[in-house]
Assembly symmetry: C2
Homo-oligomer: 200 residues x 2
């Protein structure tokens, strides 16, 4: 354990916490007081840290997505679990039908279930835009949908390139959880770029 902590750079107390919460499988027992932790444990520990520290997942959400990787979950199911892990719980009943209709117009021709958490989150944003008097007369939101489709297509291409189900599911999880921060980060860089082109 002390060695595992030194190799990974993660404190023993944190590792014990992850073991207790079953994020990390137990090491292989060597004696009553010793267990060995191999490369697979180190990989899993790094994944947990990325999901929690960079992706902002709770321990409970991290547990769900790791389970989706380890189980025989299909890719659509892995996506559902991963998407739920990064989405605020929004009840369709809390949204105005007009805002849901606006989102559905953006998604026209897409195969999206009514309970998709992204559909509900987008409706909530459109409601907020509407509430502060922001209008959409030039197809602003449709251009977001177009960009979203490019990103999702890139995600699926990447996932399909992975060698097996577990590796594909891991890319589903990592991509879903960390991809939001990548696109929002690059968006801020792009905003500075386009602003400097137009205003200097």
């Amino acid at each position: 354990m002390a060695e595992f902590s030194a190799t990974s750079g993660i404190p023993v107390a944190t590792i014990k916490y992850y073991l207790r919460e079953k994020l990390l499988p137990a090491g292989e027992s060597e004696t009553a007081n010793q267990a060995s932790y191999g490369a697979a444990h180190l990989d899993r520990l790094r994944l947990i840290r990325a999901l929690i520290d960079v992706g902002g997942l709770s321990v409970a959400s991290a547990h769900s997505v790791l389970e989706a990787i380890d189980s025989n979950a299909s890719l659509p199911e892995a996506f559902r679990v991963a998407q739920r892990s990064v989405s605020a719980a929004i009840e369709p009943g809390d949204l105005e039908p007009a805002d849901l209709a606006s989102v559905d117009a953006l998604l026209e021709g897409w195969h999206v279930s009514p309970e998709n958490p992204g559909r509900l989150a987008a409706a909530r944003v459109l409601s907020a835009f509407r509430g502060v008097g922001q209008t959409d007369e030039r197809g602003w939101y449709a251009r977001y949908a177009e960009a979203a489709l490019l990103i999702a297509t890139a995600d699926l291409d990447e996932i399909q390139s992975r060698p097996d189900r577990a590796a594909k599911a891991e890319t589903v999880v990592v991509g879903t959880v960390l991809g939001d921060a990548l696109i929002s980060g690059l968006r801020r860089a792009a905003q500075e770029h386009v602003t400097s082109q137009r205003y200097s």
Copy 2:
């Protein structure tokens, strides 16, 4: 005040809190115990709620971005304040030079300052991807950068269509703070769509 609360649907205690924190300007005094709140106050209150409730801003961050709208801040300056309000504080020194170099390769040809919070956030994500063994052999990240540029261009087109500096700055703020949730929501819907196309 009671009337203002009834019209806006926001509790008196919350309104008083926003007045105290100077998010909301004082009403016009009519008598010692009465002030009147007009349409501009209602608009501002709705904006505050959108930034805090949907955008997840702290009261301090909301104060900064409202100040950027009300002051004579230029659009690049409004962007800087808005971007900071939604970005985790990351020190360039905490990042690996290799990850910053990877981000800079994605931003090649873009005019982006080294301290852009999106550049640093993106480097942090690439570091996390690298830490969990996710590779980028097919230009996955470059496709995110391409999508980010589409979104930023749509943002700037929309901002330029607004009639005056204050309206432009308000769209900078609202778009920056709420746009992340729009793109990530639409991305989840698009992931379901593309997955269902490929796996059913």
